[in-house]
């Protein structure tokens, strides 16, 4: 469960986000769409505490980050938040000095203090689930873009987060790979995973999302169930955007 209430973000004098509000119910997928520079990435980073909100609040389960928190308290809450919210970056940022297996087990072992054997067991299961059983001992650089993507997803999933955030997961994938990714993600949603996915590909979001959010100029223009937003958008700006991308 994610709640975003009147979220605003200013950097210097520029207001990158303003008055963004929405909710994501457990076990559902929210797709975020919008033109370049509309603030999608910034919104995701606020959800993960990588950016500090300057107005309003984001709340994930019982962890609430609001504007104007003292640094110490903020860090304490972010620490809790990040155990519940995982993130897959657009550029993945796999750890190049670690094998695929170590990439996945590093955080469970070091942060959650899981026994190594248990962490590796889980890593192997997750790798198998995304069809990368053989990749465990390899190094990220030797993997294809699509394989790296799946490793990044597994790395985030291995922390068993309640929410998983994705920034442009399909930007490096061909249409077939994107289609496969939809299947992989849906399977994890079926197992109870909540997700927020930023993408430029309406087709991809149509396949994977339950709800859609359209952003423009740092504002949440339209939010609703996927079918409703795609078929009968209420806001003319959403309509324009959907027409242009088709």
């Amino acid at each position: 469960m994610i709640r975003v209430e009147g979220l605003g973000k200013s950097v210097g004098g520029a207001r990158i986000l303003r008055g963004v509000s929405f909710r994501v119910e457990p076990r559902t997928v929210l797709g975020i769409m919008g033109a370049s520079g509309s603030g999608k990435t910034t919104l995701l980073r606020c959800l993960n505490g990588l950016e500090r909100v300057t107005e309003g609040a984001v709340e994930c389960e019982d962890v609430r980050l609001e504007a104007g928190l003292a640094e110490k308290e903020y860090q304490r809450r972010v620490k809790h938040l990040r155990r519940r919210v995982g993130m897959v970056f657009q550029h993945l940022y796999l750890f190049p000095h670690l094998s695929v297996l170590a990439n996945i087990t590093e955080a469970p072992v070091q942060v959650l203090k899981k026994p190594r054997a248990e962490a590796e067991q889980l890593a192997h299961e997750l790798l198998e689930a995304v069809g990368l059983k053989q990749a465990a001992p390899r190094y990220p650089e030797s993997l294809s873009g699509g394989e790296q993507q799946r490793v990044a997803i597994v790395r985030a999933l291995a922390m068993r987060p309640e929410v998983l955030l994705f920034d442009e997961p399909t930007s490096a994938l061909d249409p077939r790979r994107s289609f496969e990714l939809v299947a992989v993600l849906r399977r994890f949603v079926g197992q109870g995973q909540t997700m927020v996915i930023v993408s430029h590909s309406i087709k991809f979001l149509e396949g994977v999302a339950d709800f859609l959010l359209y952003m423009e100029g740092g504002e949440a223009v339209e939010f609703g169930a996927k079918e409703r937003v795609l078929r009968e958008p209420r806001d003319p700006r959403t309509r324009d955007f959907l027409r242009q991308t088709d």
Binding site: L50, H97, R138, S142
Partner: protein, 507 residues
């Protein structure tokens, strides 16, 4: 520090003198160019403390008297004691007048005049020293002296462990600081540098009885005859006695030495002008030289590894402090780095060795060199690490944070290992150059490989063979390092491919 400036000046001085003197020298009387080491050169020849641009000393006055007797103009050429014989052979000056002892080794390369002074050696200890009464008590102590002198040769022969210094100030200073147990040196130097020091005292009576002579190039027989005649003359007419008395160097031994020249005239008959004196010989032996070189090589390795350890750990702390610390720490780290990169390592070593004891911290020479080089290289290493840390994309850190890692954990497990891989090739290269830079330790009398070469080669004249040997030692140690550096560099380039293949095989 003053000494470095002096050394530089000394290098340039012959050229400057040459440039200045040529146009005027054409019609002037013939010159007698004489070489001596004026750094710590009292009372022989040294920069006048009252007028540092002027040289004074009893030998300077004597040479001027000799030159006058030869109807020449004396011209002083400052040089290095360690290389004085080769400088003479290269023709940088015509004669050596620098308290030179006529040893058999030197006789192979140069000519000697008749003796002009009889010297003795005096042992000096700290005021409160109770264990050392004479040289006999020094067999398990460390005695300081000048390298390649009668005193060092005497102790080498007696099997007394000694430490060679480049000038007497350093030796007596180390004695005061307790870095060595005693100093054995020619009486003139002992008189000037130690006799009035309230913290030191002479131990026992002077020992040995040697002679100072003028050194000349082989083949300069005519000049030798001229010099000998001049020595006779300054002895006969009392000039030398007057000079020696002025410098408080006149004693019975001198009277005995000069008697021959003086009675000569009085009686008008030929008397043997031989006066008994002893000659030390260094009996250079290759086995021993090899042993000493090996020991020096070990010192070099120890210095390199010790200094590198300091450089790596302190360098990393500096890099982190400079790029991530609070403002005051950043400023402090930057100041440290700029200071150590902006001043010569030689100056830093001299400061640590001679300056720190004033603040009550006297480290032995090898430790000073190790710490000094470590502190210096830490400044350079810090910049290697900083560049490496900055080369890691910020996303790596954010990815680690998003997995719940604390800043410290992310730095230790994610950033540092990646930065280290980037830093390895430049680090290895730095290590190779640090290894070669250990040779500056000679400035504080540490017996590492370069010092060993200088001293052994000067003592034996075997510059070529010993040079090849020492180079071989250096290469034996630095080539594996350079090789390692290249291999690591290659691995960094092809690391991805190699690891891909490795993991393919493993899978």
């Amino acid at each position: 520090m003053g000494k470095i400036v002096l050394r530089q000046l000394k290098r340039a001085a012959p050229l400057i003198f040459f440039l200045l003197s040529t146009p005027f020298a054409v019609h002037a009387q013939e010159v007698l160019r004489w070489g001596a080491d004026p750094s710590g050169g009292a009372p022989y020849v040294f920069a006048d403390p009252a007028h540092p641009d002027r040289y004074v000393g009893y030998e300077k006055e004597m040479v001027e008297a000799l030159a006058a007797a030869m109807n020449r103009r004396a011209e002083f050429v400052p040089t290095d004691w360690e290389t004085i014989v080769t400088s003479l052979q290269r023709g940088e000056f015509d004669v050596i007048v620098n308290g030179l002892e006529p040893t058999e080794d030197r006789a192979r390369f140069i000519l000697f005049s008749k003796p002009y002074y009889i010297f003795k050696l005096q042992l000096t200890v700290r005021k409160n020293e109770a264990r050392i009464r004479s040289l006999e008590d020094c067999h398990s102590r460390t005695v300081g002296t000048l390298s390649n002198t009668a005193a060092s040769r005497l102790m080498a022969k007696e099997g007394i462990p000694f430490k060679g210094y480049a000038d007497p100030v350093g030796a007596y200073k180390d004695l005061e600081l307790g870095r060595i147990d005693a100093v054995l040196m020619d009486v003139p130097m002992e008189m000037y540098y130690a006799r009035d020091n309230p913290r030191l005292r002479p131990a026992g009576d002077p020992v040995h009885r040697g002679a100072y002579v003028v050194g000349l190039r082989k083949g300069d027989e005519a000049l030798k005859a001229e010099v000998d005649a001049a020595i006779d003359r300054v002895m006969r007419d009392g000039t030398l006695e007057r000079i020696l008395r002025k410098w408080s160097l006149w004693d019975d031994a001198q009277a005995e030495l000069q008697a021959a020249a003086r009675t000569d005239v009085a009686a008008g008959e030929k008397k043997p002008d031989e006066v008994a004196y002893e000659i030390t010989s260094s009996s250079f032996n290759w086995r021993e030289a090899l042993l000493r070189l090996t020991r020096a090589a070990l010192v070099t390795v120890l210095l390199s590894f010790g200094a590198m350890w300091i450089a790596v750990t302190l360098g990393l702390a500096l890099a982190i402090g400079q790029s991530r610390g609070p403002a005051w720490l950043q400023l402090l780290c930057t100041a440290y780095i700029e200071f150590f990169r902006g001043t010569p390592v030689l100056v830093q070593l001299l400061f640590l060795y001679f300056g720190l004891p004033r603040l009550g911290l006297a480290m032995p020479g090898w430790l000073t060199a190790l710490v000094g080089l470590g502190l210096n290289y830490a400044a350079y290493e810090s910049q290697v690490y900083r560049a490496a840390l900055e080369a890691i994309p910020r996303g790596q850190l954010e990815a680690a944070y998003s997995l719940g890692m604390s800043p410290l954990l992310a730095f230790r497990r994610i950033i540092l290992p990646q930065a280290f891989r980037i830093a390895i090739p430049p680090m290895t290269n730095d290590f190779v150059s640090l290894f070669k830079d250990t040779s500056v330790a000679f400035a504080i009398s540490v017996w590492e490989l370069a010092t060993a070469y200088r001293e052994l080669a000067n003592a034996s004249g075997e510059f070529l063979l010993l040079g090849l040997l020492v180079s071989a030692f250096y290469l034996l140690m630095s080539l594996p390092l350079a090789h390692l550096a290249r291999r690591l560099e290659k691995r960094m380039q092809h690391g991805r491919a190699i690891r891909a293949v490795e993991s393919e095989v493993a899978a």
